[in-house]
């Protein structure tokens, strides 16, 4: 029994592969053709080869569950998600615009705060922001870049329009899975890559390294770039290792580093201390430096902020960049783009109600069963309430939280997220599952690079809208397909 795409139901959603009339979209033709030629046995075998590859390559992520740490294999679906190259080029332009504006915004907040003085951004919001770092005021990171690496989540609604759902500016993760998904696919279906015109994704680690090296305070041939990880117990540890390995730089923990009397950062090596120029840190701001932030942090390095503020080391992303990674700030991004660049946002925001505004707050509380309600500063889907899928009790609990701290809450209409064909548990029948897309944007101040596609995360449960890996989501290889290539 082969896959019959005619029998595939889009159920009124926008499907990434099959249009409303049941026809395969142009960019998915080769893919659909290839899969419909596979027998049930071939499909089953492909899936087990993929599972084995993931297990042997040790692609895993860690979830915390009742105090236990579980190392889980990464859930992966073998049908790729495709996007046409033309559409993608438009998305790239929009993302560049967005990140450029966000960097200008962050730099402004830590200097003159013109956007507040000009009445575009409310002062009260900044005062209550948990990610604004007083310690960063007046600091000038190289090229005025704060958010060197941004992971923006893109979704489509029922009409297929692409929106930005959120921007992750603190320590966005997932890019290693994007790269590994591709290498798993190459192991499973090598012949597919010979036939179809799929743009490669492998450039990312070298682009990342170039960007990091460009931030070095000491211009030289080979700056010492390190990746700072909280350690093996962190949920993204796999990725920290992966990126350090791909870039050929040291993966360090806080205890490997020391700030000496000259306010420079060194790492402890077999041969003694060695100067560090750039730290790609995968530790949250508050754990970075016990002298400045949480005093009992074991993960950070005492004196790190001192070294950074003197310009002796570059921190990527810069401390304090998270001020723009906040679901309330998000609601202002269209205004932010307009203010700094004088342009309209090229990729729209999802319409967002700010509970800070009493009228909008009232609307949110009255319509909570129809909305997705989000706390401003949680990530990974924690604290999220999906109105239509929640119980009255859950709704009441969230309403109480909103009333206690309205500034911390925003709400959005439930989007009919687009679907992608995903194999059901029988391993041979494709069925639509909701998905999003997280591309990564690298900014050095001189140029901006965007991943080819990004990480497609997919809710493995039918009808579910939650795609986070910590909440049972999986992922797919993402193809940007050149429709015009011969």
């Amino acid at each position: 029994m082969e896959i019959d795409w005619k029998a595939y139901q889009t159920n009124g959603f926008f499907d990434e592969l099959i249009d409303a009339k049941g026809n395969v979209r142009t960019h998915g033709k080769q893919l659909a053709q290839f899969f419909s030629n596979l027998s049930a046995e071939e499909l089953t075998k492909a899936r087990s080869v993929a599972d084995l590859a993931i297990k042997e390559m040790g692609i895993s992520f860690t979830v915390y569950n009742e105090g236990n740490m579980i190392d889980r294999a990464w859930p992966f679906d073998i049908i790729p998600r495709t996007i046409g190259k033309k559409e993608w080029q438009g998305v790239e332009v929009g993302l560049k615009q967005r990140v450029e504006a966000l960097n200008l915004f962050i730099d402004d907040l830590y200097h003159d705060q013109k956007i507040i003085k000009d009445g575009v951004f409310p002062k009260g919001l900044l005062e209550k922001s948990v990610n604004f770092r007083q310690q960063c005021v007046g600091i000038n990171p190289p090229n005025k870049i704060w958010a060197h690496i941004c992971g923006s989540d893109l979704v489509r609604d029922g009409n297929g329009t692409m929106y930005v759902l959120e921007d992750n500016l603190r320590v966005p993760s997932g890019v290693s899975y994007m790269l590994e998904n591709r290498s798993v696919m190459k192991r499973v279906f090598p012949e597919l890559f010979e036939q179809a015109s799929i743009l490669p994704v492998d450039d990312y680690p070298s682009q990342l390294f170039d960007m990091l090296a460009a931030m070095s305070p000491r211009p030289q041939d080979k700056p010492e770039v390190v990746v700072l990880t909280p350690g093996v117990f962190n949920s993204a540890y796999f990725e920290h290792c992966y990126l350090a390995q791909e870039m050929g730089c040291e993966l360090v923990e806080g205890r490997d580093l020391v700030v000496e009397k000259d306010d420079c950062v060194y790492m402890r090596t077999i041969t003694g201390l060695q100067r560090v120029d750039v730290i790609y840190r995968r530790i949250d701001d508050l754990f970075l430096d016990p002298e400045v932030f949480l005093p009992d942090s074991q993960l950070g390095v005492p004196g790190l902020m001192r070294a950074w503020s003197k310009g002796n080391v570059a921190l990527v992303n810069a401390p304090g960049a998270g001020v723009a990674d906040d679901k309330v700030v998000y609601a202002y991004v269209p205004e932010i783009i307009k203010y700094y660049l004088g342009e309209d946002a090229k990729i729209a925001n999802v319409p967002t109600y700010k509970c800070l505004d009493p009228v909008e707050c009232d609307h949110v509380i009255k319509n909570i069963d129809k909305l997705v309600v989000k706390p401003a500063n949680e990530s990974g889907g924690y604290g999220l309430l999906i109105g239509p899928k929640s119980t009255k009790k859950e709704q009441q609990a969230t309403i109480a939280q909103i009333k206690a701290d309205p500034r911390n809450w925003v709400a959005q209409p439930t989007l009919d997220l687009s679907t992608v064909p995903t194999l059901e548990s029988d391993g041979i029948t494709p069925d639509g599952r909701h998905a999003d897309l997280r591309p990564f944007i690298l900014s050095s101040g001189k140029d901006t690079q965007i991943t080819t596609g990004g990480l497609t995360r997919v809710a493995m449960v039918k009808g579910s809208l939650v795609v986070n890996s910590s909440q049972g989501g999986g992922s797919k290889d993402t193809w940007i397909v050149d429709e015009e290539a011969k």
Partner: protein, 313 residues
Amino acid sequence: MLSRVGETLYWVSRYIERAENVARLINVNNMLMMDLPKGVSTGWEPLIDIIGARTAYQETHTDFSEPKALRYLLVGKDNYSSILNSIISARENARTIRDVIPRDVWEEINTLYYYVKDNQSEGLSKRGRFAYLKKIIGAAHQIFGALDATINHDVGYTFIRLGLMIERADMTSRILDIRSETLIVSEEAKPFENIQWISLLRSLSAYQMYRQEMGVRVQRPDVIKFVLHSQVFPRSIMYCLQEVKALVGPLPNSTEIMVSIDKAIDELKADDVGVLKKGYLHDYMDQIQIKLASIHNDLAELYFLKPPEQSTL
């Protein structure tokens, strides 16, 4: 090379070497038991001694019967040196330095871990045991081979080799110690003395090489000399010590530690080990183990990451 990374590489290779040695020990003991008549057999007790776990074992076990001892050696959760625990430790250590280890090697270690864990029942069964252990030994060789062929032979590789050599020398001394101590020399076992010495050599994969190198029949003084003094057999204590010396020499600030390594080698050379009798051999092996431990401590003191409170920076 980060101090922490050097230390971790050292331990990854020690744990893999340990797992391999225990696997080989079990395999050979298994074979020996088939050859020895009932009543002459030494059973599984000596193996528990070799890994230095007698006290811990007896706290939770009442006897040294095959199923109990084997489970303890292969997969015992409470046995720090069980094959499974060694592989888990190797993998956990490797996981913290995945960026340094060649990807293929990491996959080998990971695959070995799943094999050891998922096929325990094979290892515990009489029929499946040989294949199970052989696979573990083969995987360890493959890991060291892949490391040799694919990692930069820089200071990181030096620590991999150091961990391997020190663990190997330590295991060789333990095997020689316990195996010769428990050798049964009663009248009725006399015909079997020879096969027990052969079994000792086999535990070290040394039988064939002994034959090639010594050219004499298997007998106590020559076996001891070969295992301690051979300049060419890669598991002899002398070979391992000389390798350690060659590795430590180029490391920074190694003058002092080189003095103690030289001393250990000179002392070993000077001793006429062939004449060591029962009891004395045991003390002699103790001394060797103490010297190895002291080389380890010197390395740790000089090159490994110290806990924060002891940090001298």
